[in-house]
């Protein structure tokens, strides 16, 4: 802090940040209180379909997060370490799916897995039966659709974490006799552990909240955000919608509160 304004600085700073604080209060605290009031005003009511949707949401998000991490670790590593020009193009291409609207992602998924989609058509011509037909509308379709935007997100996040690790650590390990697998296990993974965990939480949270895609696809696999939408717009049941919203907020907040924990362990 070298700007000749140390003394007055703190108050100027607070004044500048004040709009942000007001925004957070108005948009975060007040509506959450209203939400709680709505959910509780005739006593908290939680039924089996709600819990079922909650369970589905968590399973789906955990699954998507796990699969994304597993699929993206090595490509991210390769992207971070090899000095190609191609890399820049690839990185730009990855940002494209992130920019697409959920409605388009849903649509693209249906084109892949829907009744006349690529995969069922291919399978039909290969093994004679239209296997997977309609898969777009169940859990499989959801996972594929979510991977559509989670894979680019996870790859970009992991790549930036890997890039932050000085390549000299690997060089040092190899001069100390460590073979490639041992370098990965003893040096690279420990150094990126917290980045991997953060990426997992990020992927999980995004999947948990997504509902635009699900709204187009999920007919057999109920998840919480879609149920909230249905409760509010279809059944006009405010209390039911509020209760499920609080459940979703609670899970999201839990995931959010894990993030700093994970980062603190970083050395």
């Amino acid at each position: 802090m070298r700007s000749g304004e140390e003394k007055s600085g703190r108050w100027t700073g607070i004044a500048l940040v004040l709009p942000l604080l007001l925004f957070l209060t108005a948009m975060l605290l007040y509506p959450l209180m209203r939400l709680s009031a709505l959910a509780l005003h005739r006593g908290l009511h939680v039924d089996a379909p709600m819990l079922h949707a909650l369970r589905n949401s968590i399973i789906l998000s955990l699954g998507v997060a796990t699969v994304s991490i597993l699929l993206c670790l090595t490509p991210a590593w390769a992207l971070a370490r090899w000095p190609w020009r191609l890399k820049v193009a690839l990185r730009s291409a990855l940002t494209v799916p992130l920019m697409f609207s959920g409605v388009i992602v849903g649509f693209l998924t249906i084109l892949m897995l829907g009744r006349v989609g690529l995969i069922p058509t291919l399978l039909a011509s290969l093994i004679g039966i239209p296997a997977g037909s309609g898969a777009a509308y169940g859990a499989v379709g959801l996972v594929v659709a979510y991977l559509y935007f989670e894979i680019p997100r996870a790859t970009l996040a992991l790549e930036s974490a890997f890039r932050d690790i000085d390549i000299e650590y690997e060089a040092a390990a190899s001069t100390l006799g460590a073979r490639p697998w041992s370098r990965i296990r003893r040096v690279i993974l420990p150094l990126t552990r917290s980045a991997i965990a953060s990426t997992f939480l990020l992927t999980f949270s995004v999947s948990l909240g997504s509902y635009g895609v699900a709204l187009m696809l999920s007919r057999r696999f109920t998840i919480l955000p879609v149920e909230i939408y249905t409760a509010y717009t279809g059944l006009l049941d405010d209390q039911r919608a509020s209760t499920m919203s609080l459940m979703l907020v609670a899970v999201a907040l839990m995931a959010a509160s894990l993030t700093p924990l994970v980062n603190r362990r970083r050395v």
Partner: protein
Amino acid sequence: MNVNVTQLSKRYDGDVVAVDGVDITFPSGQTTVIVGPSGSGKSTLLNLIAGLLLPTTGSIHFGNRDVTRIPPEDRNIGFVFQSYALFPHMTAEENVGFGLLESRLPASQRAEIVESTMRRFGIERLRRRRPGELSGGEKQRVALARALARRPAVLLLDEPLAALDAQLRERLRSELKSIFASLNVTTIHVTHDRSEAMLLGDSVVVMNEGRVLQHDTPQRIYRQPANVFLARFFGDANLIEGHLDATGRHIDTALGSLAVSEPGATAGPVVAVIRPEMLALAPSHPDFTVRVEHAEFLGSRWRVEGISERAGRIIIDLPGDVAIAAGESLPLRLTRDSVHVIAAEDIAIGAHHEPDLTVTRRS
């Protein structure tokens, strides 16, 4: 175990030649310092010897073993990085023990080696500390201990003192000197600092633009530099033009006739190397006189820049206990009976090489 590099070259993408056909024998158990300005290829050469880079052509032998294509983990080396590259998620102890993990030694024996190595470097107190909690000097010691714990056949150091501040650097330099002396390991040390090179090297390799200019003892390089680049690189030098006579024993210069310390070069134009400390005040019988332009007090001595009517700009070192002021006239004599000369064909090498001063020259 000798380390030999033969006709070693490294060419990067875009045809940058970092190392250009180098032949060096690094004698077993001795310390060889590779020194040169930045961009001279010295670090690239070290990385080639470590196996962190692959050469474009040429070969590297450790003793009789050809290691040219062997990965670093199978070369049995110790490497100290300029940044130290200590693993930030491990304690000092775990760092020092890292190189032993791949060995088949039982855990107790590994712990013993770590313990004794740390004691040897005076860092057993730092056992549980992480690199983030260590000072620059402590990190350097841990990095050395880590490189040496597995008793490598070759120890490689890449500017291990460059990251430290001036005072600490001087102190650790002397410490490194005694560590090298106590080891019986072939050691290759890379630096851009010429005084570090003179101090630490049993022998010194001077590189420039990817090539070896001279490989010799520090004394010989200082006293008998092979060309103008070397004369200037190792300390300041007055380069006095002269003409070697037919006997090869005397040169005619603007400062008079001087005897040549190594007679026998071909007669013709040569350059005499007169170091600033080879001149002294001589009130009674001066060889020549200079007018003082600048006088810089350096504590133990004065660095004086003077103008001689006959020989132009002359740099002189004089004792620090006299008083010297700009403008005054100094009577000087040469304190040596003979001088080293650089033969005609070696004058050009480095004569116009003044990195980073291109701008001033142009203007």
